[in-house]
């Protein structure tokens, strides 16, 4: 049994812009609680999520890259012991274009039931992806995200 969170949104932009917004510090800083993701974004390379104070919140490995369509990361939380103890989750980002919009699907899953990490990210992704959509469509992120 595994646990899964899936979130789908549609953004008026291009797949390339969504890809850049999710992977480049100058963009993530603006719509994602000021964090940056550090990685070369090559398969087999590490990635880390770094808060504005320098603390590492999440880390893992880049598993699959097919720019600008598909990105798979292994994902292990680093700050809260009970989440870290659960081990690695997997996060998949898929992008496809229909008419004037990009369909963005985030799938975050873990091979165990009752995962606290999946519960935590289920609460986090809707705000982050809503903020990303506002940022790309209006130039301004959501105030609290």
């Amino acid at each position: 049994m595994s646990e899964k969170f899936v979130y789908v949104t549609y953004i008026r932009t291009t797949q390339e812009k969504v890809w850049e917004a999710l992977t480049k510090p100058e963009f993530t800083r603006q719509f994602w609680y000021g964090i940056v993701l550090e990685s070369s974004w090559k398969e087999g390379e590490p990635w880390t999520m770094v808060a504005p104070d320098g603390a590492i919140y999440d880390a893992g490995e880049v598993i699959e890259v097919e720019k600008p369509k598909h990105l798979v990361l292994s994902w292990r939380h680093q700050m809260r012991p009970e989440l870290k103890a659960e081990g690695e989750a997997r996060c998949t980002i898929d992008l496809e274009t229909t008419k004037d919009m990009v369909k963005l699907t985030v799938t975050h899953e873990m091979a165990r039931t009752g995962s606290k990490l999946i519960a935590a990210v289920s609460g986090g992704w809707p705000g982050i992806l809503s903020s990303l959509k506002s940022y790309l469509e209006t130039g301004k992120a959501l105030e609290r995200v």
Partner: protein, 153 residues
């Protein structure tokens, strides 16, 4: 496990009153919700229905709870597709909460029966509609992909 449920959360830069209007009033729904309109006075116990742009009735139900501009609950039965009509009434809840200067919209669409076809269908339908609603309220323009009624329905 019992029943079927779809939950979707989005955050919108608008007031709760504007989001409420956009979810219920024809002049807004026509723009982002496949050209459809809803007919209801949105009072508790009143009937409620959704019509396609060509006037065909698609969904109907009753207003179960109204707490403007925080919460709206209605019963919902698709009457167009037989396999969904046979499932009877589902339940839809909209909740609006302030989130700093923005609003958190939580939509819950559920049914008492397992593996509901209606809930499976609306699970694919809500994300583009709510994304388009957010675009309309934040940019003045809905997403083009959601403005027209599908040709084959």
């Amino acid at each position: 496990m019992s029943g079927s449920k779809f939950v979707y959360v989005t955050y919108i830069r608008a007031t709760r009153e504007k989001i409420w209007d956009a979810l219920t009033k024809p002049e807004f729904t026509r723009q982002y919700w496949s050209g459809t309109v809803q007919k209801s006075d949105f009072k508790k116990g009143s009937p409620w229905s959704i019509y396609a742009p060509d006037g065909r009735l698609f969904d109907e139900g009753e207003i179960l709870e109204v707490d403007y501009p925080r919460k709206l609950v209605l019963s919902w039965r698709n009457v167009h597709f037989k396999e969904m009509a046979n499932e009877g009434h589902t339940r839809l809840t909209y909740e609006l909460e302030p989130f700093e200067s923005d609003v958190k919209l939580t939509l819950t669409h559920e049914h008492d029966i397992e593996n509901s076809k209606t809930i499976a269908a609306v699970s694919n339908g809500w994300p583009p509609l709510l994304a388009s609603l957010k675009s309309l309220l934040e940019t003045g323009r809905p997403l083009e992909g959601t403005t027209k009624w599908p040709k084959d329905v």
